[in-house]
Amino acid sequence: MSEPAGLYVHIPFCLTRCGYCDFNTYAGLDQLSNRYVEALQREAELWAPEWQDATFVSLFLGGGTPTTLKHDSLVNLLRGLRSTFSLEPDAEITSEANPDTVDEPYLARIRRGGVTRLSMGVQSFDPNVLGALERIHSPDSARRAFSAARRAGFEDVNLDLIYGANGESIESWKRTLEEAIALTPEHLSCYALTIEPATPLGRKVAAGLTPAPDADLQADMYELACEVLAMAGYEHYEVSNWAKPGHRCRHNLGYWEGRPYLGLGAGAHSYRDGRRWWNVRSPQQYLAMVSAGERPIGGDELLSEGERRTERLLLGLRTAEGIPVDWVEDVRADGFVAHGLAERRDGRLALTDRGLLLANELVTELVE
């Protein structure tokens, strides 16, 4: 059996930590990066026997900031993974990138080394918003990095944007969207700023030092994005994701469609046949376990039928394609359809733009 699967590789290093970010990433641990990349290869080998029958159709280098790695080390890593697993020849290989860590020569090297898609954390084109997010780059460096990516041969580029930071107005968000569109990326991810309690920003909000994002303003910003991006020819194919036709992110679609994935690196999650497991979060502990020849598993869970069902709904309803109508009882969904929050089309039930913004609430209503 050759089951299409996704491969995720976590690079837990950043130049600085952003106040809102709760990902498993660390600033100032770069001295570990060589050992870490070696460990990733070793971990891959530890898993290889069980994943021989899987065909990886996508590989995603996430973080953290993968582009903090030296280009040759990143390219070597990809080469190693290709030789360890069966990766489709035209697999989508994405790397996240921070505008400040890349220039044209760097990007050209990794493009030649096999990276096909670049996802850049631009977040905003408004310097005040970047300040509120504690981002180190400027709007200009984002523009420079984007054109460098083009010159380096990237034909598949995503920009990550965040809306709803303290002080961002709807006008500012509109300008950010227009600037992003002007660069003509193939893909845009627009995330509503979410306050995570265990972050510096979360603590500031809890202490009343800065306001929590206004949900209604974020809803307005979301609706603006739906409108502006649709006019610019982007398809809204998941809650926070828009793409030009043919440029949807295959790797992320894999998560939403419930396909298996293997995660390598500190804190990475994996899923296969109803079982999910995750690696230890600490890079040091990860290194220690892998160098001892041990799989660095921190925990796992076997999903019950009910939990699998909840996940299928939770993930499926985030996408434009939605779910087969017979996954939920008609009566449960009728009200949402009547109120314009969901639509039935071609035997599928999908949320409308307005419904997508309420996906949590709707899913809790749809699961028994």
């Binding site: 949900a215 926070s240 939403w256 609430e361």
Partner: protein, 624 residues
Amino acid sequence: MYQRGYEGSARRARTLASRMDQSLIRNFCIVAHIDHGKSTLADRFLDLTHAVAERQMREQYLDRMDLERERGITIKAQAVRLRYPSRGVEYELNLIDTPGHVDFTYEVSRSLAACEGAILLVDAAQGIEAQTLANFHLARDAGLTIVPVLNKIDLPQADPDEVAGELAELVACEPEDVLRVSAKSGEGVVGLLETIISRVPHPHGDPGAPLRALIFDSSYDSYRGVVAYVRVVDGEIAGRAKILLMASRLSFEAEEVGVFAPDAVSIPLLSAGDVGYLITGVKDVRQAKVGDTITLADRRAKQALPGYREPKPMVWSGLYPAEGGDYPMLRDALDKLKLSDAALVYEPESSLALGFGFRCGFLGLLHMDIVKERLEREFGLELIATAPNVEFIVRRGDEVLTVHNPSEMPQPATYDWVEEPFVLATVVTPSSHLGPVMELCQQRRGSLQDMKYLSPERAEVHYLLPLAEIIFDFFDLLKSRTRGYASLDYEHWGYERSDLVRVDVLLQSEPVDAFSSVVHREKAYSYGKAMTERLRELIPRQLFEVAIQATIGSRIIARETVRAKRKDVLAKCYGGDITRKRKLLEKQKEGKKRMRRVGRVDVPQEAFIAALRVDQATSGSEKR
């Protein structure tokens, strides 16, 4: 503890059982305001009479319930027999420890009826308080000899001379006759015991007459059934006697009689003048009600002792299980609890908003709190209590309708008038705070009945007030307006006509019965406004706009809107950590399940509880 009574040391039982001439018996109680040291004084009596081995002694010895010890209050009466030698003669002192709270005024009155004397105990630093006055009047009306005592004389802030003056004035004696003790150190306590012996009259019952014993309290023991606390007035009673309860007309065999010393000790006989217990063998305290008279089935007394009264609930509230499926558990718990609480009444009711539950009647708010806490603590239930209300009497021609649930109050214009219960409240306050106290009473529809100065610095005022106006937060406000110095007590007065209206609360045009309230017409608007505003804060935004309205009949008096929710989604859902997202969602789902769905609107349980607090915001001008 009654098992111990059975097995208790034989020698001790013999000593305790030895018949005492009535002239050597003194039956007395301690009446005091809360925290004036009643339980500590009782502890000292136990010490001095060696009633409890030192190693078993603990504070508040007589308050056995956890709740009593935690709150520092007495809920159940206790009676303890002490042996005390005075000038070579051994006396039998029966100390009856009474509850002090206004909710239990009837129980207090029966405990007083079992005594010949009362120690009126006053904190030498605090002075006379409202409960001091109320209990003093009860004791005096019961014909008891009052022994005025100052406690805590060793406190640095004590002002014994000043307070002795107040106390002498109250009981009409000389200030020198006021005893001074420190229950904590024991100073003056021996003198107090001597004074009790010399001043409190001994019982004058007729040991040869047919038995008449007063039940002044009862409790429920899971092993032995109902234990009646009795004062034998005439005649005598032995274990195994066939007895008759004169008010309830129930007849059964006394399984055992005994005394508390302070643990239960079985003895062969209780006779005229004695205080002790009787194990009835019945399983329901309703069969041995406080105030009833016990006589012998085969030698009946002609006349019962005076003063029997059926317990009358004054405050009502709907109790609902937080989890609807717990209804059978709640029913069983109430059935069990009523065995030990004769004042608790309840009837099943159902609410559109809260499902199946019970409308329960309580003696007062403290009683309600205690019942609710016992249900939660002893039976592991989680409950939603609706805002407490009083009982209303609706008159329509010759018809009389009693309403316990505000949502059952008929619409205006379908009746002639409504009556509500009033209380005569006594407030004792420093004169300097008299203004704010009177202002508060006026805001609560009070009418001034009387005002007196206890001393130039302290005054007592008497107001007639609707019970409904004081059951929520009156006491808290009184305290906050007088820096904690004022005290309150009240007695029930009876029903008076009032201009009351029912205010309903509607969600999406559907009335929510649990939010209905009966309020005075003049306060209806501010109540409706406060209630709708409060609910707007408490009801989470939903997929559609929620209209909250307050109405009187078909007239809308207040309206608020909860805007539709627009955004509720996890922005980012990749990176593979789907477990966390699913768990967040499951938690959200769980939270929704704990809400009550009224029509299409999800209402959190807190909204039902918080509705209780609305009254605070509507009490006249102040907002806290």
